[in-house]
């Protein structure tokens, strides 16, 4: 099985969107504030449905919110898109 980790730019995107709170993002996505905190911390991987909803809230493509960091290439995190 291909190994790797999922990173995300939710903190950065919240900051870029007028410091949107985790609670507000959670409300708009349909999950609790704690779930947003867990996703942001990389402790919980959301469903594809929730991932798309988060991207939709920030009006960016999914790949700009979540990145797949392959185990073979740990430096592959592209970082926040400008």
């Amino acid at each position: 099985m291909m190994e790797g980790t999922i990173s995300n730019q939710i903190r950065f995107l919240r900051f870029r969107n007028r410091e949107m709170s985790q609670a507000e993002l959670g409300l708009r996505v349909g999950v609790t504030r704690q779930t947003i905190a867990a996703i942001e911390a990389g402790k919980y991987s959301p469903s594809l449905d929730t991932a798309f909803r988060i991207a939709q809230v920030f009006n960016v493509p999914l790949g700009e919110v979540f990145q797949w960091n392959s185990g073979a290439n740990p430096g592959a995190n592209p970082g926040p898109a400008s």
Partner: protein
Amino acid sequence: MPYKEKTAWLSLFAIVVTYGPYFTIILQGSFPKRPMPDFRQLALFGMFAVAQMVILGVGHLYNFLNAPEEARIPADERDRDIHRRSLTAAYSVLIFSMIVVGVVMPFYYQGWTIINSTLFAIIASEIVHYSVVIFCYRRQS
């Protein structure tokens, strides 16, 4: 702390403070054994079961009054995922215990020993259930 974690803590607390003393009394052998059906034993269990329900009732009311908005939030996908994981772990404990109590123990024991072992199996699986819920919320997974 998420509301569902508070609920799990409450349930775990209620189990420990009621069934802890109950099984301590049973294991110490301080409760006199009588031939079946031993209604005094049943009354003893009933007393602790009612105590658990009272603790849960008061605790749930206290939690609800302290955070009514949080109490109304429906479970999201992570809550459901945690619930599913905790049930899987609890089911493993329950099925193993039930095999021991229902298949092995009847060859060696009878009466209230079997009944109390069954109760212990259910309580143990409940403890695992709530412990996994708390563990998952604690580590944010």
